[in-house]
Symmetry: C2
Subunit: 494 residues, 2 copies
């Protein structure tokens, strides 16, 4: 991996002075086109050994290009905000939107390498990180991002010389602390681990580019030219050829049975029984939210369901039991411009609760495999890969002690018709029924198939779907409350 970068590469001052102005202009032009066309984001990931010129090179990129359109993020020790969320949250937050350039210092690759070097991770655990980094980068690339990963390399001898130089000068002495020397002592081990990591995370879509870091002119031109060529290639590509579809089609069941049709939608519950149950379960929920260990966890509750199935009513029965400072209701409609410029999961990562908090999603990331699938808003390949992306997303949440509960509220076609008509008849409810609702209704069977596939492919041990028979609103609300309470109790007893 480091063969070329271990050579004594260098570019002399004359060559640099000759090439720099042209490169600079071309980079600025590419950045301008990127920003004007807004076709894709550029993600520059920076890694490598201490003293190999990572910072200097990034500074130069800022000098060369328009810094207002560069978003640079350094990931050192996580902030409190970050510590209270799943580890991937901070990377999602920093992703550049389409048309922008994001520079990531020491992102998801840095700490697993360091922890392996210092023996805090086993080989197998490192491989788990590798495979999750691969899945994450594949998702970004499938969503259109151009990913460039630069690894700045120094040989052991070069690194020693560099650290000594930095120490010798007054202006740079502060940059060399004990930590730098501690890392230097483990140079060989570091190189060995890095080689394994780089090799396994170097993919066709997101290869590592190893840069010889000793000569400032050489490394600057290498990074600049590589960045330019990659941006230019993608910018000048013929417009949007679709990738050939490799996904086999998913079929509806060959008999008439499916998880939705297997439900008995009409469930008995009278008003007085409902009111007693409501008081009981809301009381238990209120107590749980004040439990001394509640601050160690968080809750993500997802509501999906047929139109007019009563999602809003069920959500209100939960929030009535909670302190308003504890929860946030997130209602998902069409994405904003900023959200459309990002991978589709980005808008949901924004609302991931900190510890001790609850986020309640009225519709969610499942739009990808429901409405976007049925209406053809995304390709088959896109929604097919979404199942595993969503599973990755939710297991990242669950691993970070977030309780994920997901409800599908199901009503019959007849019940829906009754409710639509009732809404139209009531002046203050008329806004709740639109043309779109009537259109969706015509695709009832397609939605049903999509829901069944969704349940099969995303109901997992850590984040299972609860199907709620919702023709009777009382019954549905109590089932939702009870499921949430039981899930919380189970987690608090862990």
């Amino acid at each position: 991996m480091f063969e070329s970068a271990s050579l004594k590469h260098s570019v002399d001052k004359a060559q640099f002075k000759r090439e720099e102005p042209k490169l600079r202009e071309a980079l600025l032009n590419a950045q301008f086109d990127l920003s004007a066309k807004k076709k894709f984001p550029v993600l520059v990931v920076i890694g490598g050994v201490e003293g190999a010129g990572k910072g200097e090179t990034v500074n130069l990129l800022h000098e060369w290009m328009d810094p207002r359109h560069i978003l640079t993020s350094a990931f050192d020790d996580p902030t409190q905000d970050e510590r209270e969320r799943p580890p991937m949250w901070r990377y999602w937050r920093a992703l550049p939107g389409k048309g922008r350039l994001g520079i990531f210092f020491g992102a998801w690759h840095s700490w697993p390498i360091v922890e392996r070097v210092f023996g805090k991770l086993s080989d197998a655990q490192l491989d788990q990180h590798i495979s999750s980094a691969r899945r994450f980068e594949k998702m970004l690339s499938d969503e259109g991002a151009l990913i460039l990963k630069f690894w700045f390399h120094l040989t052991k001898k070069q690194q020693k010389k560099r650290l000594e130089e930095l120490e010798a000068s007054k202006e740079t002495r502060w940059r060399v602390t004990e930590q730098e020397w501690r890392f230097f002592d483990r140079h060989d081990k570091f190189e060995k681990v890095a080689e394994h990591y780089l090799r396994r995370t170097s993919t066709g879509e997101a290869p590592w580019i190893v840069v010889a870091g000793a000569d400032p002119h050489y490394r600057a031109l290498t990074v600049g030219k590589t960045l330019l060529a990659a941006m230019r290639e993608r910018l000048d590509e013929k417009p949007a050829r679709a990738a050939p579809d490799k996904s086999p089609p998913l079929l509806p069941s060959v008999d008439k049975l499916n998880v939705i049709r297997a439900l008995k939608l009409e469930q008995p519950m009278e008003r007085d029984e409902y009111e007693r149950a409501l008081e009981k379960w809301q009381g238990r929920l209120a107590l749980l939210s004040r439990h001394k260990r509640f601050g160690k966890l968080a809750v993500v509750a997802v509501f999906e369901g047929n139109d007019a199935a009563g999602k809003g009513g069920a959500i209100r029965r939960i929030t009535q039991a909670l302190d308003a400072r504890l929860y946030r209701g997130v209602s998902i409609a069409a994405p904003t411009e900023e959200e459309r410029a990002q991978p589709y999961l980005w808008r949901f990562w924004r609302h991931i609760p900190r510890r001790g908090r609850i986020s309640i999603f009225d519709r969610s990331w499942y739009g990808r495999v429901l409405v976007e699938r049925v209406e053809g808003f995304c390709s088959e390949a896109d929604w097919m890969r979404a199942y595993s992306e969503i599973n990755d997303f939710e297991s990242e949440l669950a691993r970070h002690h977030i309780v994920v509960v997901k409800f599908w509220l199901a009503i019959s076609q007849e019940e829906q018709m009754k409710r639509f008509k009732a809404r139209e008849a009531t002046s203050f409810k008329r806004f709740k029924i639109t043309e779109e609702d009537w259109r969706n209704r015509k695709k009832w069977d397609d939605y049903e198939t999509a829901v069944c596939d969704m349940v099969d492919r995303t109901s997992t041990q850590r984040a299972s779907w609860t199907l709620v028979e919702a023709n009777n609103k009382y019954f549905a609300r109590i089932k939702v409350l009870k499921t949430l309470v039981k899930a919380l109790e189970a987690k608090l007893e862990e």
Copy 2:
């Protein structure tokens, strides 16, 4: 994952009789088209719980379709032939070529699940298998294969009933052994592990399709219809739209230095020194090949280099030292028709040595990132992904105690010219120089760039490249022999 398949799906006899003839005819037609067009292979992977009708369904597929074009492989305990090679060897061997249908019973997914259930693998180790299965299937899919993975499911209750039924009948009693009941006892654990495995290996290109296994008609129609729809979709696809290229371009170095140019190609060695050294190193190699632990390992030696760099001569100096029964020379030219119908690594897997044997490749899988890249025989996306596919391949070999040594024999342009002319002048060597050699020579710089990228991206701790300065044939041959001997000694001392 198992929600839908846990329902009581069934298809009655009347429906089955009505649908079967049509399905059968359509499947036969699809199989005929597949075989006529030879565009892609179909890989049907069968997994699931005991007693869920895996065998019966596959038998039915044989009945419905033309069995001469179905290649069924069951992977139970490995045979001796298989045990002496890396674990993936047997799957490669069984891959169907383009235009054919291969059915894999309990392939790479089966034993990791079972070993996890019985506590022989940790969670992290299981995740390593998962990630290697994902990479393998992605490679197959990138190479064009249509992959269908069926998982036959039974609930615990259904499985118990099924095993009791089988036991009760004289004809089927033999199928239920202690092992089946031992598995049954761990049904819950099995389901939990399988869910995790299936979820993580379910990708857009190769999703698992979970089939309710209790009702024979239902499961047969489900598998048949899914197979038909997937084959039909791929067969009827518009011809070869290329996937958009997502790989950033790899640049040549910005200075004039690279790993090839850094070599001092002219190395001193006189004839008598050579002959003494040859005797010494051939002697050591001969002894090593008779070492008592040599039978525990195997050797793969790869020779690549400029045209006329002396690969053949270097190889002969190795084989002279070996018992002819120990080694096999593999000379790689244009692929045969059978080989072209397979993923590009397939033809090399064929020649992977058993334990105690040596395979010497005169040119190799590196053609993908050398000639195929330079001549444009494959797309940029194809050769970019090849680096990690090759790394996966070689680390599979290395993990299985195969010593992998790789030589690049480098000569200068002047030396090559001299040798070309000498070959043309010598009647019995004239066959060694062709038009193609002269053509390749014109692309010297492109090949040099490709070689540098190859070395950087595929030289790993377990399978590193040795660059051989080969203007002096004597020096080159001794360096090759010595490197091989040292690698073997290091491995035997491990």
